[in-house]
């Protein structure tokens, strides 16, 4: 199995719901907690596995807003795993999920340096590296109804922009989406071979832009006012 996500950049509206759902589920998950620093202070921050950033592509009037949610891509060439000196980082044989053994991590940051996508974040309170688990504590949980055995970010997405599945199966939903919509990798030229794919925005014409007319000259406007205000 090669589990991963397909994210539709055409339908993602950048609402950050997946960020919140991820944080809510995983803060008590296998790699939790996702520590918050000064949550009630002036600049609250903390660990997150999933972040959504918004971009403008091209220039007005041809511009488009694109939102890009990013979590771990569970790369096939996972250099975050090979650089790890302690063996805390590992990639599972059976489904390709990359995880960090919290009992072995020494917090040297080298795996975060080796990740081109910024998927790994150091928990400065616990001193260990944390990352997206693809909700490994949820997708195999047989106590949950079958429809709920998906990552929290996928379940919560209000526009259905996130899809979870097995990329090794050519007939799975994610494989079909990638085939039909031209799913892309981020930074493909770097050769990390990320499993997660992004569906580019559909190629549609822009909506017609209303073009207003130039205001009339002063003489014309004066004439019009005179015509309205003078009674014969």
């Amino acid at each position: 199995m090669k589990l991963g996500l397909v994210i539709d950049m055409d339908t993602c509206v950048g609402c950050q719901a997946c960020v919140v759902a991820c944080k809510q589920w995983n803060t008590s998950g296998t790699l939790g907690p996702l520590t918050d620093y000064t949550p009630y202070g002036e600049s609250p921050g903390g660990v997150a596995f999933n972040r959504v950033r918004s971009y403008e592509v091209d220039v007005f009037p041809h511009s488009k807003t694109v939102n890009m949610p990013m979590s771990c891509m569970h790369c096939e060439t996972a250099e975050c795993v090979t650089v790890c000196p302690t063996g805390a980082s590992y990639k599972r044989e059976e489904d390709g999920i990359v995880l960090v053994d919290q009992d072995k991590c020494m917090g040297c940051n080298l795996c975060a340096w080796a990740c081109p996508y910024g998927a790994r974040e150091l928990d400065e309170a616990e001193g260990t590296m944390k990352k997206c688990t693809l909700c490994v504590d949820r997708i195999y949980d047989e106590l949950l109804p079958e429809a709920d055995r998906q990552p929290a970010c996928v379940l919560t997405c209000p526009t259905g922009a996130r899809h979870f599945g097995d990329f090794d199966d050519p007939e799975s939903g994610v494989s079909r989406l990638v085939r039909e919509r031209g799913g892309q990798q981020s930074l493909p030229e770097m050769g990390y071979n990320p499993v997660n794919r992004y569906l580019p925005p559909r190629n549609r014409p822009h909506a017609d832009q209303h073009r207003g007319s130039a205001p009339e000259g002063l003489a014309e406007r004066l004439k019009g006012w005179l015509g309205l205000s003078v009674n014969r």
Binding site: P44, R53, E56, E79, P85, M106, C108, N109
Partner: protein, 313 residues
Amino acid sequence: MHPALSVIVFTVASGAGFGLVALTLALELLGGVPGLGATGVLWAVAGGVVLATAGLLASTLHLANPKNAWRAFMRFRSSWLSREAVFSVLFYPVILLYFAGMWTHGATDATAWVYIAAVAALLLAAATVFTTGMIYASLRTIPQWHSALVPANYLLLGVASGAVLLTGIVAISGGGTEAVGQLAVTLVVLGGFGKAVYYYWIGQPQGPSINTALGMTRGRVRLLESGQSAPTFLDREFGYQAPASQLRWLRAVVYLAGFLLPLGMLLGLLATGQAAYAVLAVASMLGGLLVERWLFFAEARHTVNLFYGRQRC
């Protein structure tokens, strides 16, 4: 990249310390350090070991969870950091064996095992500095580091600062500094040349762009919002950016304090034979190398910055 003080001190101190050990042992194996007796050689090697140890201890300050540091020896087959840890720790029993041999026999070439211990210590010292460089050079995410120039610079600067230190030790002990001084001059010039090549090489952005990061290759891309209200780990670790004017100014400091000033002092030492010149050369070079190492981090641009709006890395 965020220039962490612990890593800067670590790489400069361990580079100079292992460089001093390697150079002293190499000269000793080639027939004796010119101007230094057996006791002097022991002091020089011991000084190098102390400096390298101080550096290695500083490196542990960089760990967020040092209680697991012993596990760093576990992934020798894939991780350069693990290789560095193994080589640096293997160095200690070998150098202790060498000290024991010098204590009992009084000379490096007295018996075979002392000689072998000296060769092994020399190789392990060089291997440690090389693996330190490879930790950075193995990261494809940072184009400014992903080059053979990086381990080459670490080795050259380590052995050059070691040579300046050795010249200082010979000068203070009152020996003839002619030969080691000339060696130090050569290595400082080589080190400076290597660094100049590196600065020239990183001059042009050559890494991936924001367009391939998003998969939007047909138009200009700019960041609208990062979706966060406070700086995160990614900003603190990778987002560090110094003003270009400061970087230019500091490069001048590196050339001046790291290479030109030590070179002048060494030439002064060769001309007059006064030990004060050697001490000034050591102080200037180590100070210059601290700035050089700070720049090594400050000028490195990680690909995470593409997702925060940088056009090219």
